[in-house]
């Protein structure tokens, strides 16, 4: 792992041992995080100031000029802005809140893990109770749920699928172990399938 990675060296080894082409776990980009809490009147003002029609509806993420904006609860949104950008972002949002809300720098409250590859739905399903079927969970959706027993924010970035998991730093070790276990399982399953399925005999259904 590179210097300054949020993942300690022992986890780096665990991850690279587990990861394979169809499910790869890497540390995500570093971001500054802002929590914006706002009453209904202020929500509209903030959205307008950011050039948006509205802030994201429940369980959705939208790109804004301050970076990705995630719905957290009816009166709270999370902005993931560039490293070191929190102060400037706060100055952008604060004047529009007046007395109807608050913006707080919560950088460091969560670390992003990135999970990519076609088998990642299986990996996540091994430790997260969300319904992640592509027909229900589309790119651009986010959801707060649990991995193992820890609250995380999941964001489906694109249809690779590429997931961003926002994990409290003190639980990264725990979450990575769950995911590494899931990846290990997915890889074993794939290797078994390759070993037992002859290459040129598609299964025929009898009428």
């Amino acid at each position: 792992m590179a210097d300054g990675s949020p993942l300690a060296a022992h986890l780096g080894a665990l991850i690279s041992k587990a990861s394979f082409d169809d499910a790869r776990l890497t540390p995500g980009a570093r971001v500054d995080l802002l929590s914006v809490r706002a009453r209904r009147s202020a929500v509209q003002r903030v959205a307008t100031a950011l050039g948006q029609e509205s802030l994201p509806p429940p369980n959705a993420c939208r790109a804004t000029i301050l970076g990705d904006c995630f719905w957290l609860r009816p009166d709270e949104w999370l902005f993931a802005t560039v490293p070191g950008g929190a102060e400037a972002a706060m100055k952008t949002v604060e004047p529009h809140l007046l007395d109807d809300g608050a913006v707080i720098d919560v950088s460091g409250s969560r670390i992003i893990l990135e999970l990519t590859g076609p088998r990642t739905r299986d990996v996540l399903s091994s430790c997260c109770p969300l319904d992640l079927d592509p027909s229900v969970f589309e790119p651009g959706r986010c959801a707060q749920s649990i991995i193992g027993k820890v609250s995380v924010l999941l964001h489906l970035v694109d249809a690779t699928p590429r997931w961003h998991l926002f994990v409290p730093p003190s639980y990264v070790d725990y979450v990575v172990r769950w995911l590494a276990d899931g990846i290990e399982g997915a890889r074993a399953e794939q290797e078994n399938a390759l070993a037992t399925t002859p290459h040129s005999s598609p299964v025929r259904m009898l009428p």
Partner: protein, 87 residues
């Protein structure tokens, strides 16, 4: 495992929620027996039961649930402010 429909987040598994006990309880005007009843007595019906739950690992919102205590079927969920679904 119960599948509970959070008014904000939709159908989620029970492990994301916490049970908050009996809902829709009106505080008494001030007499002791009234407070005793509020604090220590529960209806405990066999059948539909009005409860409160909180989506503690999700949107952290409290909401009303009507659950059948004999079948564990969730009969309805609604927001505390009475409005429909996610606004």
């Amino acid at each position: 495992m119960l599948l509970i429909t959070c008014p904000w987040c939709g159908a989620r598994e029970e492990t994301e929620f916490r049970h908050g006990g009996e809902g829709v309880r009106v505080p008494p005007d001030g007499d002791d027996p009234g407070w005793t009843r509020l604090l220590y007595y529960r209806e405990n019906p066999a059948g539909p039961y009005a409860e409160r739950w909180v989506h503690v690992h999700g949107c952290r919102q409290w909401f009303h649930v009507v659950r059948d205590t004999t079948t564990h079927q969730i009969l309805s969920t609604r927001r505390l402010d009475g409005q429909e679904g996610a606004a």
